[in-house]
Symmetry: C3
Subunit: 327 residues, 3 copies
């Protein structure tokens, strides 16, 4: 572990990628890389956060994401506390902010927060700053707003694959297609910031109900919107598929899963439109045969899904380390 | 850590404060004080209970209390096992005693038990003593009976605030008001023992349905009952508010939350009746605007709620340490 | 810890006892014995699986079995991750195999799997072998098929009690009665393999609806079926009772719990038929007064139930150690 890369880190919280600078992405990638190296050793632990407490406050359930944060914290030698919304005292009338403050009063140094309402982590972070308790807040997904660590693990997965000599603008010249329910996806929103900042051009593809025309203005020339999948895939270097929430059907935003797959599903035929070395990403869990045909998902030549999960632990270690050791 | 203070400790179990002696309160306060000092260090762990197993058997759910016990155990280097009533084999027909014995047979040294029936921890402790397995039982709340560690963290919070030269009778001359559903509160019951033993005079205030006249005989001259809140608050040094269970309404013991707040809620006006340096405690989670007005709860000059949570970890470390290292 | 005993271990997975050899049983018993000795020390931990990750994937809930695996893993210094079916992403459309792969991609080295469908652990193990990731799968109960670690802890409990000079055929000449719902019991199925391989003769007793005539052909001369309990108990050295699932009543396989107890329940009168030193086992949790009368269960001269639970931790440590350190 080099510490030189982290001396410039100033963020106490990980809330949103909207304000991430190119330098911060670069520091994160280099730090994650060194943790990836730690994970390949026989002894996979470092004492970086020894005696610190990471509290996972998941007001919206997610076993796989909580496990990833939990393992990242344990490998930094932190202690972890888990709070799940369902078994909580929230049903007893306490506010979310009260719950957060309770865990801080117990000794939590980092609060990892998932909530289905956008902005909850920001509100808690603002209160923590006001109280000057040196507590960090880590947004693990807030409503349809952002999911920074998911986008950063996607970025790190590409970084590992491309293995550039420097992280600086390492996606320059790359075309990345993001396909699916853009409108409701916090993963897509976070990815737009990170991918374009690192130099990529992003092509979004979705039915008009899931990709309103206003989206085009979001990030200017680095962003292109399509209401058909084919132009987004053509010559793409990477295809990012998004998870389709089945609730969209009951909201009449989509006719049927079958029809969605016919129009926007990633199939072997459609992959032929892309760059010969194209790779496919998905934040998981996958609805097999909906967002992507089942055989593509299992094709190690095409799918980066497993690498994304592995990157998740390294990236979360890096982020916890950066916010947990900055002043 | 000094061990001299603990040489006199003889209790194997923490079941009730009814039998706690003044000396035991003093030992506990001094031990908690030294753990409070441990928690302020950079390395917050001590190896006191290394390789011991603390099993949290919560037959009644409580995330915040379980987390506090879990963190206390981890900071003593114990391993923890969590059992939650809902996912239990109790639904399969096993008795509570069988569950407790199973965890002991696995290797648990300390059973932390919460159950909505009064007396369950005592029954389990009696069986453990009969089996001579050197196992400790810790009552984390049994029905409407007792919640010793909550009362002890209240006591420790006052001890820290007053910072007396000795814990001996350190509440002598203090007036403490306890306001709310006294009848159903295990927290109030435990506090009556600890506060009066340490010298305080306790004034209880509640509607007659929640504070029967028989209560007066409970502890004699150290205890005064009121069916209005104002005389209890007048010149009080500390105000302890109790959580109001919403079930009380459906049981027709209370007309409405609004009316309760009007008659017994702690408001800024009512606080003016108390001693100028009065502080407010609440075991949490708070029903904001019911037991206490929301702005008082957030006023750091008045509220000790956050300190209570912090004290909870130190007090539970001390208690686990005392029972886990006695013979 | 001697390592000589384990040099011959070749199994990567613990899926079924059907293919266990006598040598493997002997290695397991000797390894569990050395861990039993570790557990009797003041410091109960060994660094054998340090930095390894054991993921408990319990698609079917079982608090006691999960706690036993969790404690075994912690005492080998492994990190643990818990996944419970109910809070899972399975409801989101992911396959079980996808879930398993996700935990492996995060870094899990051993997957402990419980599922109500027979064969799930085998399917996952086959996929893990195909992927050549050096991951072990441990069947913690699959449908009505097998529950290897339960049968092995039964075997180890008998081994400890009999304390033979060598584990070789140490049950030779012993009569063991297994009483209860044989047809649906994965515990019984696994025990048939282990007990007969180690030399015992096994007598099964159950109503015809729960013990079909075809069972007789299962293991030849080492196995005798009875549709009454008395001949099975006569001169038995050990009585293994099985848990009766209450669902059997609604499936019309049993008239009533009371009638079952009258016909097949282990009572003090029936125990008189057995060998004077007979001991009783039960995998737990017990339906008191159904499979066994309540007083027998609590009689330390007769019941091995508590020892079985203790053996469980040592046996699971041994199995995790053997599969976690083999190449």
């Amino acid at each position: 572990m080099t510490t030189t890369t982290t001396s410039s880190w100033t963020k106490r919280h990980i809330l949103s990628l909207e304000t991430f600078t190119a330098e911060e992405y670069e520091t994160l990638l280099e730090t994650a890389d060194s943790f990836r190296e730690v994970l390949s050793r026989r002894t996979k632990k470092v004492p970086a956060l020894q005696a610190q407490v990471v509290a996972n406050l998941f007001f919206e359930p997610s076993t796989r994401t909580r496990s990833s944060f939990e393992l990242a914290a344990k490998r930094l030698s932190a202690d972890t506390l888990n709070f799940a919304g369902s078994s909580s005292s929230l049903t007893k009338g306490e506010t979310i902010l009260d719950t957060a403050k309770t865990y801080v009063a117990m000794g939590a140094n980092i609060l990892v927060i998932r909530h289905r309402q956008a902005g909850v982590p920001h509100t808690i972070a603002a209160e923590m700053d006001r109280l000057e308790g040196n507590v960090s807040v880590f947004n693990a997904g807030d409503g349809q707003h952002e999911h920074p660590s998911q986008a950063l693990l996607d970025l790190f997965t590409l970084y590992q694959l491309l293995s550039p000599s420097s992280p600086h603008q390492f996606l320059q010249g790359k075309k990345i297609a993001i396909v699916g329910d853009i409108l409701h996806s916090r993963v897509a929103r976070s990815n737009l910031y990170s991918l374009t900042t690192m130099g990529a051009t992003v092509h979004l593809a979705a039915p008009p109900t899931l990709l309103p025309r206003e989206f085009q203005e979001f990030l200017g020339e680095k962003l292109v919107c399509h209401w058909q999948v084919e132009p987004a895939l053509t010559d793409a270097d990477f295809i990012m598929t998004l998870r389709l929430q089945k609730e969209r059907m009951s909201e009449h935003l989509l006719p049927s899963l079958r029809e969605y797959h016919q129009q926007f599903g990633i199939t072997r035929d459609r992959v032929l439109l892309a760059h010969p070395h194209v790779k496919i990403l998905h934040p998981g869990p996958v609805n097999r045969g909906v967002e992507i045909s089942s055989d593509l998902m299992d094709d190690p030549e095409l799918s980066l899904i497993s690498q994304q999960v592995t990157s998740g632990v390294a990236v979360r270690m890096a982020l916890l380390y950066l916010i947990g050791t900055s002043d």
